[in-house]
Symmetry: C2
DNA sequence: GAAAAATTGTAGCCCCTGCTACAATTCGCC
DNA sequence: GGCGAATTGTAGCAGGGGCTACAATTTTTC
């Protein structure tokens, strides 16, 4: 109840980490789609992630519980302030990783895919290194 | 079955991808522990990943089904040939990612953590870029 | 060699993600 | 306005990963 708890927090996170990743993916997608279409529906997310609408509905239910999303039944999704902030943060990370991969020579297609996989696993420090190196590589063409 | 499949392959993998990741983590750990201790027991993996032995047992059951591991009840774990190959491949990737992060300035501790998160999400192409840049940065100290 | 400790296995629970099938609601079009 | 299509919701199943509790087996220790 005491030491074991603090201790086990790390694994607790193993489980919830995954949840956090999908949360970030979802709010970012919602933000995206809202910007492009004016609103974001369940079906839009289902298409974007290529999963059934049921999977989306369940994920959204979780995001609601976590206070990232709101919505009325049969109505489009809305982000809360927290949701928007998370989306913005996710987007920044996404961009940094993507631009970094491009800068080191990864093709557009592969960079797009790898970025999705990587973005949730880079620490702040690594992100900073990515940023710095991206700029360095852009200025310095010494191949 | 046709177009929908090719398209959805990336996402279909979402589920099994995760399984593949843990498979790689497990066989690599088993290989590690065997090298260090001469044998690998369930409890060793439980400690390494900081999860209960039950979680390990279940994961191992899956690895057995997939033909990566063998074992008799109450006996240490053994890798199959496929298991050893996967472990070797995982280790190569791990090393490349880790050395790359170190080369671009990430600290040992952070590199260790980030590598674990990233290693399963870098494509062959990205890995090649990592390798090349690592060597370039090592030879060229133009900071 | 037997008791205690460590290790492994099994049962049963939770949560997340994925699905199909079917019901309900909204939307679009005539 | 209403009917069909599209969208959303709900029920229920599979499977991975996490756990505790308890049973079985092996290992250690005296």
């Amino acid at each position: 109840m005491t030491s074991r708890h603090t201790f086990s927090d790390r694994h607790r996170r193993t489980r919830s980490d995954h949840a956090q990743e999908t949360a970030a993916d979802y709010v970012e997608a919602i933000d995206d789609i809202q910007a492009a279409e004016g609103r974001c529906r369940v079906i839009d997310l289902a298409r974007r992630f290529d999963v059934s609408h049921v999977t989306v509905t369940k994920a959204i239910a979780r995001l609601k519980r976590e206070g990232l999303v709101t919505s009325e039944p049969y109505r489009p999704l809305e982000l809360t302030e927290a949701g928007r902030q998370l989306a913005a943060k996710a987007r920044r990370t996404h961009t940094i990783v993507y631009e970094f991969l491009r800068a080191i020579g990864v093709s557009e297609q592969v960079a797009a895919i790898d970025t999705e996989g990587i973005e949730h696993h880079v620490s702040r420090q690594t992100l900073d290194c990515f940023l710095e190196l991206t700029q360095r590589l852009r200025g310095d063409q010494s191949a």
